[in-house]
């Protein structure tokens, strides 16, 4: 029941915010913030409530679930379920979601009600993706993320926002449709071999498929996930979308939407098609590694800060693909860790860039320099998250990437070594960013106020979380490891 609440609070909060904004704009903001905070509290409640069950390693049962029949004739269920993996990703969603509402506090001044409706409905879609274990429902949630995001880019962005919004829509929709075809194909193949119509994840896991059929169906899923992540070479919508969209939207795009794709790979793609995925792994891993290096080099060349961070994001997400397709415990745990930490570090970077943009009305590195002397707190914070992004030990991103590389090395040493060079490449762009924006002479004589308390609060919490994840990741690792273990066991059985 609590799972229904998670989604209902967001959907209702969105409608409520939209209505209340007619009278009072501040009200809409507070309602939106309250909805995300309530959801975060609910997730924490589930976490604490099931701490005992989580501590039992090898417990494969769901922590909570709801299963309602939706359209029985077609075997469609409204089936939500949560395990340690979904739990932590939901926690990330609401943590970052609340912050994206907080940073929009002064940036968004038009159609405030509709803005918050869209933000909360996207968060609902994301939560649905992390919770759905019925493939029809999963697809429904997947598409639920799409429309509000289109509006968010198209209505609150910069000059070329319409083009960016259409680009985003076409890319993700193309991927999404291929996934729909794949889901339906799987559904019918399952019916043909068992005589049962079902979209139920657990049932579909056992669908017998010939190798080539499995490969084709898997590619349908892969298309949707690769575009959404985004994986090289399907990444070009992200820099455009990020450079046109407003700050909270960038945060959601890079921190959260990307994670739904990574989650989809871990939860659905590999377990549903273990053997096809194994055959396809070299291709996917090669794309991941190329993406790591390509994103890093592109980031090094950018002068627009949001594009720069978008490319770093592409680089980091390559690590996740590498990990998912190498599919061993070390790499997978690293992948989930990277999903969480990347969500925090890239989100914080976008927030800081938004703060900078709001003050000096530019994101162009060529028009910055020497900002440290005028805004030391903002600059110091940017340095902190740039260091996190370049994988400095002691911060969370390092734990994730180290585990990924350690795990990948086991079966694919060459990929791991090339990806390690990607870690080195992250030094180039991170240091360049810091140097060009905050150090050197302040040639443009920029003077600006430092972070205000609201921004400082958000940034401090995110920095604290990264430090905690970097130095004591064990509680988090322990929470999602039973879920990953269960998935691995499933795959293990099917691969034999």
């Amino acid at each position: 029941m609590i799972l229904i609440c998670l989604i209902a609070v967001l959907l209702a909060g969105g409608v409520l915010a939209a209505i209340s904004a007619r009278w009072n704009a501040a009200m809409a903001r507070w309602i939106a913030l309250a909805s995300t905070v309530i959801d975060f509290a609910l997730v924490l409640f589930i976490w604490i409530n099931h701490a005992g069950q989580i501590a039992l390693l090898n417990s494969t049962a769901w922590l909570e679930q709801v299963n309602w029949t939706w359209i029985p004739q077609l075997g469609i269920h409204f089936h939500l379920a949560i395990d340690g993996l979904s739990l932590l990703l939901l926690a990330l969603t609401f943590f970052v979601g609340a912050f994206s509402i907080l940073v929009s506090w002064t940036e968004i001044t038009e159609s405030i009600g509709f803005f918050h409706l869209n933000v909360l409905w996207i968060l609902a879609g994301i939560a649905g993706v992390f919770l759905a274990v019925d493939l029809f429902l999963f697809y429904f949630a997947w598409e639920l993320m799409l429309v509000p995001m289109y509006f968010l880019i198209a209505l609150w962005g910069r000059e070329r926002r319409a083009r960016a919004a259409v680009k985003f829509f076409l890319f993700t929709q193309a991927g999404g449709l291929l996934m729909l075809v794949a889901i339906l194909a799987l559904y019918f193949f399952h019916y043909r071999s068992t005589g049962v119509f079902t979209f139920e994840y657990v049932d579909l896991l056992n669908t017998p498929l010939t190798a080539s059929t499995a490969l084709w169906i898997m590619l349908g899923f892969f298309a949707a996930f690769a575009v959404k992540l985004p994986l090289f070479p399907f990444h070009t919508w992200l820099p455009d979308a990020c450079s046109e969209a407003s700050t909270p939207v960038c945060v959601i795009l890079a921190s959260l939407l990307a994670k739904t794709a990574a989650y989809g790979m871990i939860r659905f793609l590999i377990p549903l098609f273990p053997n096809a995925a194994r055959e396809f792994a070299p291709v996917a891993m090669a794309l991941g590694v190329v993406g790591i290096l390509y994103g890093a080099v592109l980031a090094f060349g950018q002068t627009d800060l949001k594009r720069l961070v978008a490319y770093t994001s592409i680089s980091h997400l390559g690590f996740i693909v590498l990990a998912v397709f190498s599919w061993n415990e070390l790499a997978l745990q690293g992948a989930v860790m990277t999903m969480i930490c990347h969500g925090l570090s890239v989100g914080a970077l976008f927030i800081l860039i938004g703060a900078l943009d709001a003050r000096i009305h530019t994101r162009d590195l060529d028009r910055m320099g020497g900002l440290w002397s005028t805004a030391p707190r903002l600059s110091g914070a940017a340095l902190f998250f740039a260091l996190a992004s370049m994988g400095l030990p002691g911060l969370g991103d390092f734990v994730g990437e180290f585990l990924i590389l350690l795990g990948t090395y086991r079966d694919h040493p060459v990929f791991a070594i090339v990806a390690a060079i990607g870690v080195l490449a992250s030094t180039f762009y991170a240091l360049r960013l810091i140097q060009r924006a905050f150090q050197g002479p302040n040639v443009h004589r920029v003077a600006m106020p430092d972070l205000v308390y609201r921004e400082g609060f958000v940034i401090t919490l995110m920095a604290g979380a990264l430090l905690w994840l970097g130095l004591n990741p064990q509680p988090v690792l322990r929470t999602f490891s039973p879920a990953l273990h269960a998935l691995e066991t499933t795959v293990q059985i099917h691969r034999q």
Partner: protein, 619 residues
């Protein structure tokens, strides 16, 4: 007492945290109290555990918490105290404290006073984690942490872009080595199943035969990290530029402690190197080559700090030479002594630089012997110890031991010994070049600032240590050899320990004499030599560090920058833009056919019918 061990790194970290969060609101006095006080407490605790550490029968491990526990990979946040790490923490905290005290005065006028101490405290904490780490992952955390602080402090005066460039260069070049080291960690964990150093060494010696390819690869990859951090060939290029940072930083990070981390890493993992004799030999060769190359470069530098930087590279070359011949304890002895005299030299040079209004060029100094007696005497003592003035300086004893071992060790030989002796001559020559040019001759720049007690006390203490530090040689070696295998001397031949020492003394005297000849008696000889065509070319070549920068710039920096610049707009996007363009063109083409003219439609229908009929008939 040993339970306090965790406080030694924790207190400097706490100091850094306080200064970073609220340091801006503090008065300068308060900043100094927190910044210097935290390291003083760490040094105090290190001293307090001396009796307990000396009485230790077996190494002491303090487990703080489990860092992560994933699929059998279980690194802990744990500290490991044995003679080697104990020596390191003593030197780091004690020299660190003296340098912090010195900075409290020398940096007092700087606007970034609290930022400076925050970075310095963070450095001390990270360095202590590095040396105390019980597993390679925690060591790597400290390793990257000190690299970060080095970057932050080289670029401390960030308003000058040149400093930022030097800082980035340092970070990136060392991270090239770190990447090799990281891959080394993957290899070690994959093959041996742990990163806990003692287990690792034990398993390596059990599972891998001598000369095993795994051992060779692992040792070589760790060596990559070590040459980066310790500025050895071929990654030495960052250290001279790192002198852009404040002088206390150069003393602490780029002379006494961080740059010797590579030496510590190799000594810590010496079992791997014993299993990979080829790599161990490579360590000796790297050390020997570096000590010569850097010695020649030091001869030509006009910037006093760059001379000292090359001298650091060269002296670490001696330590690598010692490691390469298996004289582990000798390398660590030289590390300790070097920390004393090189920190002293930097701090004394700092007095001169501050006194002359930030003048770095030795040829604009001159005649300062009377004006700055403290700087003169302490620099002289440090210089004598560096060059190895026989019998009275600590540097002589530690270097002499390395030279003798370079010959006597089973891995040594005449070639390594000769290079070492040549290095002694070079060292004396470039050291006394600086001393004669800076402190003798005519005065070129007026003295505007004189040191007070917070600067004088640290240099005095370090000067004393640079002289008497050699007295602890025998007990220290015995102490270290309880953790490290002692060197077995196999070679005697015509060379005895005494003869080696005499030759090294003669080399010192020759260097000193030549410096006297060229820079005091017959300055015109030096000028004529430098002005000759061959001399000019050689001078320029050595001044530019044997053209390493020139080569790296063309081989690595420019291609990467070029690649990023040329593809700024992302070539992949043009593929998708092409698809969009194709659709739009198709749309325009087809919509243009919709003219509304009935005759045109009729003609097209007719033509189409004919073509279809033709196709059907012919097919």
């Amino acid at each position: 007492m040993l339970q306090l061990l965790w406080l030694i790194p924790a207190i400097p970290f706490l100091g850094a945290l306080i200064l970073a969060l609220v340091g801006r609101a503090f008065s300068r006095r308060m900043v100094a109290v927190v910044g210097v006080g935290s390291v003083a407490i760490a040094a105090g605790i290190s001293l307090a555990i001396v009796p307990a550490a000396l009485a230790l029968q077996a190494p002491y491990t303090q487990v703080l918490w489990t860092w992560m526990n994933v699929a059998g990979f279980r690194p802990e946040i744990a500290l490991y105290l044995d003679p080697m790490s104990f020596l390191m923490i003593l030197v780091v905290t004690f020299v660190g404290f003296l340098i912090h005290l010195y900075s409290a005065e020398s940096m007092e006028q700087d606007e970034g006073y609290s930022r400076f101490f925050a970075y310095m405290n963070l450095f001390v904490g990270s360095m202590l984690v590095l040396v105390l780490a019980d597993n390679l992952l925690l060591l790597y955390l400290g390793w990257e942490g000190v690299g970060l602080c080095s970057y932050l402090l080289i670029g401390f005066w960030y308003k000058d872009s040149a400093n930022g460039l030097a800082a980035r260069k340092a970070f990136i070049v060392t991270r090239v080595g770190d990447t090799a080291m990281l891959i080394g960690l993957f290899l070690l964990f994959h093959n041996l199943g742990t990163l806990q150093i003692q287990d690792l060494m034990h398993r390596a010696s059990v599972q891998w035969p001598a000369g095993s390819p795994y051992a060779i690869a692992a040792a070589a990859l760790l060596l990559g990290g070590a040459v980066g951090k310790s500025a050895q060939l071929p990654l030495q290029t960052w250290l001279p530029d790192a002198m852009a940072g404040p002088t206390p930083t150069s003393a602490l990070i780029h002379a006494a402690t961080m740059v010797t981390a590579g030496v510590y890493l190799i000594a810590r993992t010496h079992v791997l190197y014993s299993l990979a004799p080829q790599v161990q030999f490579a360590v000796a060769v790297v050390g020997a080559a570096t000590l010569l190359l850097a010695g020649f470069s030091a001869l030509t530098q006009p910037d006093i700090k760059r001379v000292l930087a090359y001298s650091t590279i060269s002296q670490i070359g001696y330590m690598f030479l010692a490691l390469g011949v298996g004289a582990w304890a000798a390398a660590l002895l030289h590390f300790m002594v070097h920390a004393f005299f090189k920190a002293l030299l930097f701090l004394a040079a700092g007095i001169v630089i501050d006194a002359l209004h930030d003048e770095h060029n030795i040829f604009r100094m001159g005649g300062l012997r009377k004006e700055l007696p403290i700087a003169f005497w302490t620099f002289l003592i440090g210089g004598c110890s560096l060059a190895g003035l026989p019998l009275v300086t600590a540097g002589f004893f530690s270097k002499d031991l390395i030279l003798w071992n370079a010959w006597a060790s089973p891995h040594g030989g005449l070639g390594l010994w000769v290079v070492g002796i040549a290095g002694v001559l070079l060292t004396a020559l470039y050291t006394f070049r600086v001393i004669f040019v800076v402190f003798f001759g005519t005065r070129n720049t007026p003295v505007t600032h004189r040191p007070r007690y917070r600067v004088i006390v640290p240099v005095a203490v370090l000067a004393a240590l640079s002289l008497v530090g050699g007295l602890v040689k025998a007990p220290l070696l015995a102490f270290l050899n309880s953790a490290l295998p002692a060197l077995v001397e196999v070679r005697a031949g015509f060379l005895t320990e005494l003869l080696s020492a005499i030759v090294s003394g003669l080399a010192f005297a020759t260097g000193l004499g030549s410096a006297y000849l060229f820079f005091i008696r017959k300055r015109q000889y030096a000028d004529a030599l430098a002005a000759s065509s061959a001399g000019r070319r050689l001078h320029a070549f050595w001044l530019a560090d044997w053209a390493f920068d020139w080569f790296y710039d063309r081989a690595f920096v420019r291609p990467v920058v070029w690649m990023a610049a040329i593809n700024r707009r992302d070539a992949i996007d043009s593929v998708f833009n092409a698809i969009a363009w194709l659709n739009r063109s198709a749309h325009f083409t087809l919509s243009r056919s919709q003219t509304g003219s009935l005759r045109w439609y009729a003609a097209v229908i007719g033509a189409g019918a004919v073509i279809f009929a033709g196709v059907i008939l012919l097919a």
